[in-house]
């Protein structure tokens, strides 16, 4: 898919777009947490850049405002991010998980749950 490289802030905007589905600039702005809510035009600018990057597209116009829609999936973006992290960790996922465990971000219970889910899926698949 598109090799869309998004910045952290663009990511946040995308998050809102994904959540809302087909928001206007105004809605995106209001969808951001109050603490750091940038100016309307800032959101507008980012949305424009996201459009140029092919991450969103304008769908239609309501009144005089455009509505936007994600043009890439959340999953594809997450995958790319994880791939980058993996590359950092030498290309293998195991050390990443080991790190998560070590830092307490992931528990043994989490692991077991995941394992079980995966086992089930594997069995079900095909």
């Amino acid at each position: 898919m598109s090799k869309t490289k998004l910045t952290p802030f663009e990511l946040e905007i995308m998050d809102v777009v994904w959540k809302l589905g087909e928001p206007s600039v105004r809605e995106v702005q209001e969808g951001l947490s109050e603490k750091k809510r940038p100016a309307y035009t800032t959101v507008q600018t980012i949305l424009l850049r996201l459009e140029q990057k092919g991450a969103v597209r304008r769908t239609r116009k309501i009144g005089n405002a455009f509505l936007f829609q994600a043009a890439i999936t959340r999953k594809s973006v997450y995958r790319r991010i994880l791939d980058e992290v993996l590359a950092l960790f030498g290309g293998s996922a195991q050390p990443v998980v080991a790190h998560l465990l070590e830092s307490g971000k992931l528990t043994l219970e989490d692991l077991k749950a995941l394992e079980e889910a995966e086992t089930k899926k594997g069995a079900k698949k095909k």
Copy 2:
């Protein structure tokens, strides 16, 4: 620890520094993969910025060249990166691992191995 925020390229440089221990600029440059090996002065610049960020420090001088050394640990950097990724994924590690599994980056075997290692460590601890 230091809230050192490193760019991708700085990360690469750090990687070489960590690997070599106490390299000179030249050694760092040569430690980078041949494909994208930047000019000597580019490496120098990055090393300078890393120094300003507190990520490396100059140790001594051999001939007329300085030697550098990491001032932050690999682990602390990795931890910060993972924290950022976790934040993206909603603060929880489980979805991250689920993603890894789904994309085939992590296998059931990996999971089991990790689980076992973790169990052992947990038992050993204190």
